[in-house]
Symmetry: D2
Amino acid sequence: MSTFGRIYRVSTFGESHSPAVGCTVEGFPSLIKVQREEIQKALDRRRPGQSSLTTKRNETDQVEILCGLENEISIGSPIAFLVRNQDQIKKDYSEMDQVPRPGHADYTYLIKYGVKAQSGGGRSSARETIGRVCAGALADIYLEKQLNMNVFSFVTSVGDIQVPSEFITKIVNSPLREYTKERIDALGNITIFKDTLDNFIYKCEDIFYNQQGDQVLSCNETLLVQIEIVNMRCPHPPTAIKMIQKIQSIRGQKDSIGGTVTCVIQNTPIGLGEPCFDKLPALLAHAIMSIPATKGFQIGSGFEGTKMQGSQHNDTFYSDKQQNTQNSEKQEKVKQQSVILKTMTNNAGGTLGGISNGQSIYFSVAFKPVSTIGLPQKTSNLEGESTVLEAKGRHDPCVLPRAPPIVDSMASITLMDAYLLQQTHIPKAKEGSSQWQYF
Amino acid sequence: MSTFGRIYRVSTFGESHSPAVGCTVEGFPSLIKVQREEIQKALDRRRPGQSSLTTKRNETDQVEILCGLENEISIGSPIAFLVRNQDQIKKDYSEMDQVPRPGHADYTYLIKYGVKAQSGGGRSSARETIGRVCAGALADIYLEKQLNMNVFSFVTSVGDIQVPSEFITKIVNSPLREYTKERIDALGNITIFKDTLDNFIYKCEDIFYNQQGDQVLSCNETLLVQIEIVNMRCPHPPTAIKMIQKIQSIRGQKDSIGGTVTCVIQNTPIGLGEPCFDKLPALLAHAIMSIPATKGFQIGSGFEGTKMQGSQHNDTFYSDKQQNTQNSEKQEKVKQQSVILKTMTNNAGGTLGGISNGQSIYFSVAFKPVSTIGLPQKTSNLEGESTVLEAKGRHDPCVLPRAPPIVDSMASITLMDAYLLQQTHIPKAKEGSSQWQYF
Amino acid sequence: MSTFGRIYRVSTFGESHSPAVGCTVEGFPSLIKVQREEIQKALDRRRPGQSSLTTKRNETDQVEILCGLENEISIGSPIAFLVRNQDQIKKDYSEMDQVPRPGHADYTYLIKYGVKAQSGGGRSSARETIGRVCAGALADIYLEKQLNMNVFSFVTSVGDIQVPSEFITKIVNSPLREYTKERIDALGNITIFKDTLDNFIYKCEDIFYNQQGDQVLSCNETLLVQIEIVNMRCPHPPTAIKMIQKIQSIRGQKDSIGGTVTCVIQNTPIGLGEPCFDKLPALLAHAIMSIPATKGFQIGSGFEGTKMQGSQHNDTFYSDKQQNTQNSEKQEKVKQQSVILKTMTNNAGGTLGGISNGQSIYFSVAFKPVSTIGLPQKTSNLEGESTVLEAKGRHDPCVLPRAPPIVDSMASITLMDAYLLQQTHIPKAKEGSSQWQYF
Amino acid sequence: MSTFGRIYRVSTFGESHSPAVGCTVEGFPSLIKVQREEIQKALDRRRPGQSSLTTKRNETDQVEILCGLENEISIGSPIAFLVRNQDQIKKDYSEMDQVPRPGHADYTYLIKYGVKAQSGGGRSSARETIGRVCAGALADIYLEKQLNMNVFSFVTSVGDIQVPSEFITKIVNSPLREYTKERIDALGNITIFKDTLDNFIYKCEDIFYNQQGDQVLSCNETLLVQIEIVNMRCPHPPTAIKMIQKIQSIRGQKDSIGGTVTCVIQNTPIGLGEPCFDKLPALLAHAIMSIPATKGFQIGSGFEGTKMQGSQHNDTFYSDKQQNTQNSEKQEKVKQQSVILKTMTNNAGGTLGGISNGQSIYFSVAFKPVSTIGLPQKTSNLEGESTVLEAKGRHDPCVLPRAPPIVDSMASITLMDAYLLQQTHIPKAKEGSSQWQYF
């Protein structure tokens, strides 16, 4: 199915070479100001940049909002987003490609449907994620402006190059809005310079570093030739520069490499997620594992946490009474009996029993190396005869720099849906009673 | 929501201390022979055994099938399963527990619903999984008997004790039905003996081993005192015995420990799973991450695969024409144009583009250490005052030995649903035409 | 599918001769007091009474609530209801019935599933409605106690005997709670007496009437012999007594007769129902037409309204400022710009554009004559040979007296679901702002 | 919600004055030839014609298929349809209309969402039905070409002018494809001529009739002036001409009038529809009652059938062995034990127990008179002050001539979904067994 969510229902449509891609969203609340530019901005983040880290294809991807708004205010109707595909030329059936690409969906689509798109990835193309990004950006407007939530992702590893785990912990626990999508993009936006010694130094947020990640206090800009600006979307510059080098090296080999993304969701209301099959981590896992090229999902302590003992892993509750200013009506009510509790550590990753506990939610995602590579690959054609496949054209050696906006989208869609569903769970107090009475 | 699946729709109900737990299943095909004993057998696997590795609570858990069968044949109606809870005593509200347990759902349920079950885990209790096991066992009847599929799980790590990865690969690629739920249970069913020297040796499938995992060729049984039979559900006996030692040590500390389970699904028809949001790995991740205490899910190469290069990771297609005996109607049709392809390696874990490719599906799951521990824990009560919590009673130090039947269930439910949905995707050929004509 | 609703999700299970029937309900809000007796009372209304108008079968139908409540308070978990079937004896397959009953589901089930229940109606039996009545009674607790709504149905025709339309209009527009389920039952509960002249008079609410429906001012009870108490569920006694006579006459012929039920829903909040496919009349039509034996549904002016001109049919808006005391938060907000509007007439039947407008919702339902009759019927067996079928046993000549509780249930389930879904549509104002600001 | 269906899932989007309207369809089988012209043809049927019976607005409504097809073959992906709105000018909020139109959704949308579309009907506009017609036309391609089904609707009454019931019965039972959408359009396409005597005669299918409906054997065309071609979509010409007169008279009064549509579905496979909540009549009722302006739905004998006795109403089974040529695989299997049964009469309207029985399905639908009329109407503004509303512009005095294509669409969508769902219910026989063995 191409639909996700129970209340905030997102349906994407479109293939790589169809006239258009897009999505429709049902269940977005009314009376919310939505500007086309906010959605376009999210699409621009998704789009390949100007660096050698990502594909050179020129995709402009201007979004049109077909309905659901009037004077930039949501009116409760479905909101539909449309992005035209630039390249819609379809091959003739007679030229049908007889060699399914290893690691791709070519073969499984053919068997599933008895037919597959003749050009590009068809429905399995990354262009399908355009619709997700639109729906995620729309959700984000609500989450950020109405609920003060903060959803952002960043690259935490490329191959064996990893951001130090203490740095990730620091970001997860950072004060609200110190790290945001914009801040991550800024920190991960690295300019590489060539100096006279044929080494390079790089600049991040107006500070220059050498290849070892040491800060270079003074530099003679007249000696430097800027060679590229790269948005690695890794907020730890010393690691980011190593990732860039790694990707450049892999590109040189006409090969590809995988990596991981971590997503952080701050200021989630307590109580989101359902007890049984629709636990918040289960919904997030579903959402995230539906992104092309993902191979793993872990929340909080994840796989490492399996090595811990319960006494270490359990997050101790405490109360910070000064901060009890969260404004949910329900929490108000409960506060009459109890205070808002926090936890000292966050091995849980922000959920207990599948339900958000008010701490930062964080999870990480494994992306496999891109399947399309320039290296010749031995494979079989559909007649079962051995053959060698060599991909033409320019392809991303690594999807990681482009992945965070898509992970953000799926996280935002999931949280939005969980938030709306939660509105149905507790009855409002009857008029005249200041509090709900149940006995 | 307490419902999972689109066609094979499973709804569980019940709390730890309600009169009963159970589930209803819609969408199970008609005309299938279903015997109560098959469901009961699955529940018996889920039930705590006779060893010190699992809780001593006595749960008999006899299932009653309330409807949907006549003379043991499914008639197309919903099938409902009922298991009575033995312990239904509920505390009075006045005794309301003021100290939410760290790592538990107590606090988040209270905020979510304004109320929480006063006794035990309520809806978040592991007893909720009884319904899942019934629905999984029902699905398995279809998957195994109709489709010749084989779904089975086993424990691959406890703390830092891990089954060697080559052994896991061997199982994934083993000939169909060499490993099954029954075989795993048999291999993981280890008898520990005490010898005169206060060391122990153990027996697995009638072979005796010493603590180092070396086979002990002869042993004098008269010297031995059997102390326990443990079903560790780890099919690698040398590792299993280390896991048993680890768990016994952790129990001695009144603490708990996590671990991982791997699930293998053999002989899946090609074409299951949907292109976009309902990719098979996404559905499996959703299903699995809805099991209590799970923190991570990875399929195929998973997180390790992120370190690989595309040229290594891509699974090469080949054709083994002699083995083209799979009997799906659709595959027959496609065979007229093409042969069934296989892959040399299986880093994909059995799916490409989210759709099953006919290779073994395998994934692993992270289980955190059990939250309820005997050690005193500092925490806060609902008034925000510091306090110390000390769990009474006997608790599992490790859920891993009990986890495989539940992982099996969720995998079977997911595959069953994907299989039924796939029946709607390709039209049948019209009468008189031997093959579907589309142009 | 055996599930109805998006948020308030009702799943029924069970066949006529399975061990049990029942239902599970998801999405019922937490913190609501629910007593088993309230559900049982609704089941007792559904159960055949003590008169010759309905079948003599003795069904005690005691409901057990399996889970979802603690100390009679809902805790947000699914609530499951169980009612044991008294008669579970199943015939052997060898005795398989070869003659499908005309007007019954026997034949279509057999073709649909390749098998049909061997005993009674199986899943198509009216016993399936027990689950609906439980779920409806649960919804009613919320609708009545939380929202002050009033849902009730009554018999408006049997064959060609009809309640005068002005009387129906009077009930629709009656002050809230003048007519209720209880009141309808009381008015429709008619005692028939035999007098010395071999005519009869009848008593309704302690007033005696003759056969012409004229009030009999005095009567000598010593001359009278009470012959039966009949709950016709028709609140217009002169018509009710004619219906009773009609049904008795039809019974004498070993035949059956149809009729109509009208349902009224008072005090519905404005705004329930969705704009497009899930308009409130569409949801109600779905719900009602899923009741066995229904053949038609009309809301407001219905089929008669097709003969009207727009100038007559349009319901004029007016404002009754004194009555603007409805307490919905949302309506409060809108009141700042506007007052609550009412309509002079109610041809719309309480919805405009598919959304409730605050006026009474009313609709009527056609029930066909019962298919099982004592008269011999010519038909065909499954081999295609002509045969004659003669139903054994006692059967209802008319389902109408038993229909109102089931119509009530489906109406309540539908309204409950629409109400909960509406909670997701408008965002709450942010803290610190007394009103939602959208520009 | 704006989505309908479980497998064949249709989501419409767009408002009357948004940039576009359209719909997305999931679940359409792959490998089906779909041509844009087939969809456009259905939209053209929906579009107002060239007569005075319908509105004069000029809507060209060219559909674009955005995705899901390649070389006119469906590939299993969602299919999206887009139709641009010509008139997208939106009023400013300051000009907000303060007078909700009687009979319209203005007021209820405002309360439901806190905002309503400022121009035209917004989401409640009949332009929303464009998406339905696209999805229905797509379904029809499958139903007609793959399953040989025939779905068509026609106008059966306008005000108190009704097609004779025997004529409707004749159509329902007509040989397959004698009546079709095209045939109905042709018969209902009546040309009116003015003769010298200031009376008129009319032409239908090249035969001339006088006002009494008698065939006029010869006519002097030179004396005649053709005044209009009207597609009344009523296949009974004598009644059609009375309907035309009625509508013209109503237009003269600046008023409006309602009517009924009957839909016939021929050659439905036996077994469609689900036993409990999703009975086929319930799904159809839901689908049909979601069409704007509908007030009632009845299937088979409907409300009239409530006056019948069971002995008349029950449809007698018989076998017509010569005609057992239906080609369903499942029916083949059952035929080994039994023959295909038919019924002598069809009071059931083509379903038994909610499941199609292979006879023609037929139902009728009540449409209320159009709410927008030229006559001045007393009403209230949003401040509660009395005012008079007078609609400007040209409006349909009667929606009936435009209704059949929309009824057709919803019927086709419903049947398509039921057909696809049925594919999941019976397991296929295992290889090597000629028939499914269940004991």
